[in-house]
Symmetry: D2
Subunit: 427 residues, 4 copies
């Protein structure tokens, strides 16, 4: 998810529910920034990431541009903001270069808060007499903002990870998990002609549909995510130095960037991998927790090392449809989120929440896919080259945001998100 909306036709909520939802989503964004200084919220640690202040403003611009702008009596908060806070909507005109977002020390965080309040109030008033089309866009805007909430978690984490002081965004409210993880079991998946994709009932982004048939081969899925302990075994076995395990592009990436562990693992003075950096600062690497912040290249190499492979998105989705997408480790409050060890229980665990799971499927259009018209439709379709699909949401995803058909996507070298992996194999 490259930092913006992926929108699709959806069914409308009654206005009162929509109003409540709008309130709650908008409030959570503010909560996420609660511990941040103006400086924290303004810095950009790499071109892939954006300043928190920019996320707060861009999600607000979305409502202004697509809901409010054309209403009589609405006045833009600041006529220069569209240039600053449009993300990549070509149809919406020129915009500041992505890599320069971190130089916008003005407007200040406080001014962005005022911008948010101005737009919130206008949306609120608009809700009183809203055409159904606009209500749909507001719902889209809420989903869009939830995507950016996840990016706020991951982008601020990336920024703080560059700081030699290793500052914590939040004190952790959870003790370290010292226990063992339950053994990995192989669960048989569904096979033959299977339907996947969103069927149009309830909200979904356009790339999740149309629902269509795929033929799935016999296979098995691992009952849980791969753990830090298992990853350590991969490292100890020389996994990062064994060219035979890696995709060609992956091996070049490993060599060029001197990759030797997940993104936020840190060595102790003795040289061993002892700590990992997270939203609560540096903590011990807990063996039972799922390994996180890994690239597709790493996930793929690990799977090959383990004699397995990554699941396809059809395999994953056909298994996930039977599960409750709201049940799992999600972001419910503004805190130092992190995944939890798998629970010992039958069936597939950790499918929703905890960590996004790399699939072996490229992010491509489903048969019959049509992008939505207009600027609001520059969302998913134009990213359909070079990226892989991830499924299931993470501990940084707001609860209720994902579903079985939800398709996230990143380039194979990207790993600053809360990403892990689940193994699969042919049956």
């Amino acid at each position: 998810m490259d930092g913006t909306a992926r929108l699709a036709p959806e069914r409308q909520s009654p206005i009162s529910a929509l109003r409540a939802r709008f309130h709650s989503v908008r409030a959570f964004s503010l909560a996420l920034a609660g511990n941040l200084s103006d400086a924290d919220a303004s810095a950009q640690s790499m071109p892939d990431a954006s300043p928190v202040k920019w996320h707060l403003a861009h999600t607000t611009w979305f409502f202004e541009a697509f809901v409010l702008r054309n209403r009589s009596r609405y006045h833009l908060f600041d006529t220069r903001f569209p240039f600053l806070f449009n993300s990549y909507y070509e149809a919406e005109g020129a915009r500041i270069a992505r890599a320069s977002r971190g130089l916008l020390t003005r407007p200040s965080l406080d001014e962005i808060y005022s911008y948010r309040a101005h737009v919130d109030e206008a949306v609120e008033q608009a809700l009183d007499d809203l055409p159904s089309e606009a209500a749909a866009v507001i719902e889209l805007g809420c989903h869009h903002e939830q995507q950016h909430q996840e990016l706020i978690f991951t982008d601020i984490l990336h920024l703080f990870a560059q700081n030699p002081l290793a500052p914590a965004v939040w004190r952790s409210t959870r003790a370290a998990d010292a226990g063992a993880s339950p053994p990995m079991r192989w669960m048989e998946g569904r096979q033959g002609p299977i339907e996947i994709g969103h069927d149009g009932a309830g909200f979904a982004f356009d790339c999740e549909g149309p629902r269509h048939r795929q033929w799935v081969q016999p296979h098995m899925l691992a009952s849980r995510l791969v753990t830090n302990g298992e990853w350590r075994a991969f490292i100890d076995d020389g996994g990062y130095g064994n060219a035979g395990l890696w995709l060609s592009d992956g091996w070049a990436w490993v060599r060029q960037n001197a990759i030797e562990a997940p993104l936020y693992w840190r060595r102790a003075d003795g040289g061993e991998w002892a700590h990992q950096f997270g939203l609560s600062g540096l903590t011990t690497i807990a063996s039972a927790e799922p390994v996180r912040q890994i690239s597709y290249y790493e996930a793929d190499a690990f799977a090959r090392w383990a004699g397995a492979r990554l699941p396809t998105e059809a395999e994953w989705e056909s298994a996930a449809e039977a599960l409750d997408p709201s049940d799992g480790t999600f972001a419910d409050v503004a805190e130092a989120v992190r995944p939890r060890p798998a629970r010992s229980r039958p069936g597939l665990t950790q499918m929703f929440g905890d960590l996004w799971e790399w699939t072996g499927s490229a992010f491509l259009p489903y048969p019959g896919f049509r992008a939505a018209p207009g600027a609001v439709g520059e969302y998913n379709g134009k990213f359909m080259s070079g990226q892989f699909v991830l499924r299931g949401g993470s501990c940084a995803t707001p609860r209720g945001h994902v579903r079985a058909s939800y398709r996230n996507f990143f380039y194979p070298h990207q790993r600053w998100q809360f990403i892990g992996l689940r193994l699969a194999k042919d049956n």
Copy 2:
């Protein structure tokens, strides 16, 4: 096809047939270099391309490394050559940096010819008492060399295209095609559960199998390739300047490289696109000929502009299985190959030969895919990220080399091969 073998278990030819095939393949490589000077054969115009001399030596090294090296009584022609002429086989040890191949002005082209003769003679002798496993590797080596023959065509073309003198490799033996192309017709494709992939009868590279079932949606395929004339209409309509038509990565590529036409189109003094550079030098752009040397990004944008899309590889293969893969415009002799206008006849035309066709499918493993063991198995599997599949062969492919299940692959920005496109659409 990144310049090397993609090998798979295959059935064995009788020795006499194998001997004849080996002779003929080896001779064709020499013919391709016939018009080139030592300097021509030594230069490298970009990291993606290799010097012709390197192709001639690398294909020879393949036989030396995988057939001859471990035979008693065989002496390496030169112990330093493996370092120079290994391409990317990690298991085969260190090798010269790919981008530095053009600095190897020694050994000379004549020395490479001696190397070839030395190895040819040794293979010949070996054929007298060859274990069946080695015979299989020789057949692989022939297919491998044919792949490099296509690269010789395309890499020397790319080199000469950098030369302001616009030199011709060969005088053209074919008059310019001034006629019109037959109108494009939409042909209904096969749908439902369909099997694709190589079934194991005859030679194939490992990535072509295993044969497996896919569910294909109702669709139609264009009866012929897109022409230069149609591409000109795309340009005239502002296609290269309309962000809405492009993938996000494609648009960035267009802007960064100031792309405004296919790779080898050249403007006349008046500014209009009048000529295209080819193996016979500069010629007039013939409207009826299929457009060539385009990237995936361009193909995809054109298809969107035309209200269509690219075919998937299953759609393409299921349609191609009924056709004769040896019937088409292929490379039979060393000459200035180029594609031909489509013929007016019923059914699909130009499926085999003429130009490789971009599909909308990412190059990924088929269900159940297993890479071959050993160094000889570093062929296809390790390239399975970030690339798209192309089908059907081209005018630069040796006749008989491709089949319906053949999968070529390139990154979406690459376009120096003989690549075109065929449209598809949902039905």
Copy 3:
């Protein structure tokens, strides 16, 4: 001046004077940051520039490292700060990569203020019983901090110049200068064997000495700096497009960066150069004001266009020795400094203050130069390649900081400082 101290042995002030000077210098740095938010003070707009917060901390670290650290009873404010706020003193150990300074959103600006207070208090106490060597270092530290004060002006200006909102650091307290500048007159310079360089009386950086003899040819110096109006004539005459006027490196720089005017000139909607960005935001380009923020390449090309050349540092210094180095347009208070039009009076004007003046002399050691020993000696000597000398100070230099022998230096492409030019010619 690459952002840090250039120190040399100097004579000691009486302690009370030193105490007063320390107070006043430290207070001015705080005043400079008075209008800045934490975010403003944390951002870094390019590798050549540093965040204001970093300047405030680095100048403080200087006193901590070279005056306080080894005193009994002194406790480091934070043991991690030396890593963060050392600039380039190799002898002082590892330090954060220069280009990453902008990611240090923590410690906050407030924490840096506490750091300053902590060190100020400790220096104050130390002044009571200070060995003379340490007093010398404190004086050095004051000069060092004044250099960074100039960089605070220029670095925050560069940051704000990247912001499409064109924010002002300070409201201007000075009306626009609409008048004409006095005509440029040629003043005969001193010739023959002439002594230049610091003679050891009073403070100077090591690179200013030793005093030595040079043979100066007959020449003339312009009575004032080149103006915006004169620069506009250069532009109108096609100066930026005429290769014959430029050094080879300069022409490459112009082409690669599409340079067509001084750094902060901005076009109006009609396309003409109408505004320039400064510390008070966008203002009209005043013809009579000296042109500023130009590279050596531009200064050199302008001089060639004007049939003149740049002065050597010996020519400049021998003319400046007769003048009062405290008389001119300097930075006395924290405000939107900018240069003033030349005054109509006899003799050389604008020699001190207003703008640094590019000389045609490379920054190299004077005969007999010796760098000071120890870490404090990594100041000037190690920058003696590839840079040119600038003379005279600017409107952003604290009054009293420069002298006739003062040597500033920058690479020929750098131009974000308050830099202008004065013409010279052979007589």
Copy 4:
């Protein structure tokens, strides 16, 4: 010397002498290419170097463009050649990108030989009735070609150094020097007001004048060049790892490029520096030979380590004026040139020939310098930023080419020329 002419007004030779000189210079270029294949002569190993074929053609183009082109009855050999073989004369129009010269496999080396013959014959005929101005340009062209002859030596050496086969251009005709070098003595230099620069008698490039006075401080010059043995002591003492010895830019260059020895030193299998690559291939590093192929950064660091410094160009020239500039180790024939150990004799040795000597002087205009008018005048003046002066010529310089006033210049990181160093110190 960036690969081209630096011309100045000069006095004319009688026509017969000029004819003989033209013959001999032109013949030597051909001799230099005698052992090279078309491929060798066409490749370009880095942007700083040019293909030998290009040197052969560019020096020919010089005569065609500046002597022949405007004569009635002269026909350009090929109208496309000026675009290919102009080097950097902006006034002469567009030209091929410097870094792409290695892609010009056509015209072939044989065609360039024909080009040379064509131009030689036309110059010959022109000599019969030559205006004196044209005779001057021919003499310039001879000096220009001699500069390129040195570049042919160094550029082909650089190309072959990239080849893992370590090919020799020529078999060495000289045994290895196993002896010791005479001890280095300090020789007192001239001081006070001294004149340097060319006085106009005989040929010189424009940047060598005008002759002018400089004031030189008391100093001493080393009697000979620094040797390989002394350089080995610098390495053994950790010189490449001691930041305190290096200029700031030099240290960055060392770190970024992992520099740890002179350009062509090679380690033996045991890890020690045992061999150096040269025009005769790999040979043992002879301790008594002067160290060669070092950058300014290295020379400067070595001098600091040795408690000395580099000489200024005035120090060097004032000492050299008493010596015979034709006496020394120069390039007399086409062979594997290399410097010789110093001889045991009184006075300064190795001043002319053997190796260019870095001075501590930036390449800047002398007082009163004026560049020559017209295209032929784009020679030296435009390179006067960022480079340092070298003096004395080398074993790859044609004998008779240099003089005491001769100023060569390179950027401080460049080291592929035959460059060494001589120490100096204050007295």
